[in-house]
Symmetry: C2
Subunit: 424 residues, 2 copies
Amino acid sequence: MNPADLRIDVDRLVERLEALGEIGAVHGPNGERGCARLALTDADRDGRDLVVGWMHDLGLSVTVDAIGNVVGVRAGSDPTAAPVMIGSHIDTVRTGGRFDGNLGVLGGLEVIETLAQHGVSTEHPVAVAFFTDEEGARFQPDMLGSLVYVGGMALEDALGVRAADDEAQLGDELARIGYAGPMPCPAAGAPHAFVELHIEQGPVLEDEGVTIGVVTGVQGISWTELTITGQSAHAGTTPMRLRKDPAYVAAEITAGVRAIARQMGGTQVATVGRLELVPNLVNVVASRVTMTVDLRNTDEHLLQHAEHRFETMCTRLAADEGVTIERRTLARFEPVEFDERMIDLVDVTATRLGHTTLRMPSGAGHDAQMLARVCPTSMIFVPSVNGLSHNIAEFTELVDLQAGADVLLQVVLELAGPVGGGSP
Amino acid sequence: MNPADLRIDVDRLVERLEALGEIGAVHGPNGERGCARLALTDADRDGRDLVVGWMHDLGLSVTVDAIGNVVGVRAGSDPTAAPVMIGSHIDTVRTGGRFDGNLGVLGGLEVIETLAQHGVSTEHPVAVAFFTDEEGARFQPDMLGSLVYVGGMALEDALGVRAADDEAQLGDELARIGYAGPMPCPAAGAPHAFVELHIEQGPVLEDEGVTIGVVTGVQGISWTELTITGQSAHAGTTPMRLRKDPAYVAAEITAGVRAIARQMGGTQVATVGRLELVPNLVNVVASRVTMTVDLRNTDEHLLQHAEHRFETMCTRLAADEGVTIERRTLARFEPVEFDERMIDLVDVTATRLGHTTLRMPSGAGHDAQMLARVCPTSMIFVPSVNGLSHNIAEFTELVDLQAGADVLLQVVLELAGPVGGGSP
């Protein structure tokens, strides 16, 4: 068979997704089948053991590095060539789904099994990696494993991070579950290229009726925590003119960042997702509000423009109401742009396979954005039903899983260079 | 001494306020001296025992009714006359002060001690009452004891109310602390008149530089709980146009009720004091928001107008954003207007004593509004420093305590009819 005609076996892929999803399974009241496999827990260990077992079954050479990243390599014909790496993560959030991350890793195994089944060798080795603690649900920052892998965070700092839930130290937990490996991290050499297949985690592909998202990069992220301090007062006895109400200011900020995003258009988004009032009683004007503002844009200058408008608004509102506003930056990442040729390769490949495509930025962070620092990188998105993710109702249709994994296979083949087609 | 020249002993009043405040005392980091004496707790029992002891010391005839209201009566010269009643409450909120309620009760004892000290008798008996569970902090509704006293709630229903904290039944707790008394409740006869001295609990008197608030009535109260349901979504991957964000709608409602209050002016106030997001995460568009809206006005028609504008706004915002809004009424009280002659009496008396006065509604609920259902009623307000109440920093200056209790004394004398001046 001509390698260009190879297709993955979606039933086999789904079988692995289901098997991995049973570890830490969460069942919802309406038949939802989600997953809770927080990084470096017993469930994560069991999930890792299952995937490593599959890697061994496929004859891959498996290594574990000092931060627990696992790489399985299928040798290429050129012993000096760097591997084409497929990768993602298998940790989940507490109320996660079975596709987020897992699809990229198990899609990678499916690519290798398809190549093996059809006797197709490649010039470059093909590697499948899963990186530690991508979600950041237990240990922050998120994308920690891939960040250390590319040298963006010192290993000792990462090992010293403490869990948000039980204060456990990352290094201790890594050793406890048996995944403090011998390979150095950051890695000694960079991959030839990196490709990540992932669910969109948003509603755009479904809304546009498109199968394959050709990911052009990752939005820049600006997270700010605001602490607004006013004057607690009795809701009945305090005239409006004498109030210093932080809940009112928080409301104006929430509506204000929505207006900024609407007015700027493009990829600008703005979200107030966390907001807490103190003392939070029906008949008391709040004394303090803590809230977060999440601003994202694919363009660094536009993101800075949004930040500037947001800050100006805060200053004006604080003065008008007589409250104080403290700002604390929780996270700030500049936008990442993927390699143009890699983007084109995904687009051309998907189109050749007969799929509709849409070039789009990723609104969420992914391991691919870390790998993009050291090698040509791209991502392939498939639709999320109802745009849901980080949700036990997360789902992607079989036909879209097939499409995404087929594109991954053909992109990897193109990058790794097929050197032999097997018997039909 | 001419009874019109009698003045209370503010040091004695403060001594009692301090002694009662030590029961359930809460000390703040900056020297604040607050109080936590929740209704029908051990601390409430100890406070009641102390006040009942003082009543006995003053020779009052003390009765306890079936809901735990305590009344101490000093006999008048006319054995058929109904008593002039002074009253308030001695329970506090969890982080309360030492003046709220307590001042009205201990001010009453001070009035009686002053009359006794100067050998002044009255035609009508003078009673001092404290009513059970005015705050509603442990058992809802608030003003429960006075509500049952005037027949506004059936005794058996009140005894069956369960505590918000530990689910204890009110009747059991009443018996446990020894205050399930033998007197029938509702009371058999109405007082001749009712007067309540209370701290303002707001900033108006201080802001206006006035000593005595002549309370004209109590604002009507409309409490609504809203549950806004949208669509949880990823803050990075969901374009603004595809969002159904209940946090944004909550913000527009919060800013909107402020605008309604500002536009209506007068006594209209509007407060969003409680607001909770689910799941309340920085990078997740909320799926659900629960919030409360507190609307108050002294005029029932204007209050209904505010409610109507608020409801119209909710309907429009829900349609625009594609969220659903469920409304639940938590409380609805029509405004109470005090007796015109009683209001005038307070004003004239305070002015005669040389105090500045301001006619004002009460923004908070008080036992007096229940008593107003059965007899001519009025209230006397004294300033709250910084408008603070339900706060351990609650404070009223000595000079204002003196002024308020003097006005109380002279109003009671006028109502009860002095029949003898003692020796000078």
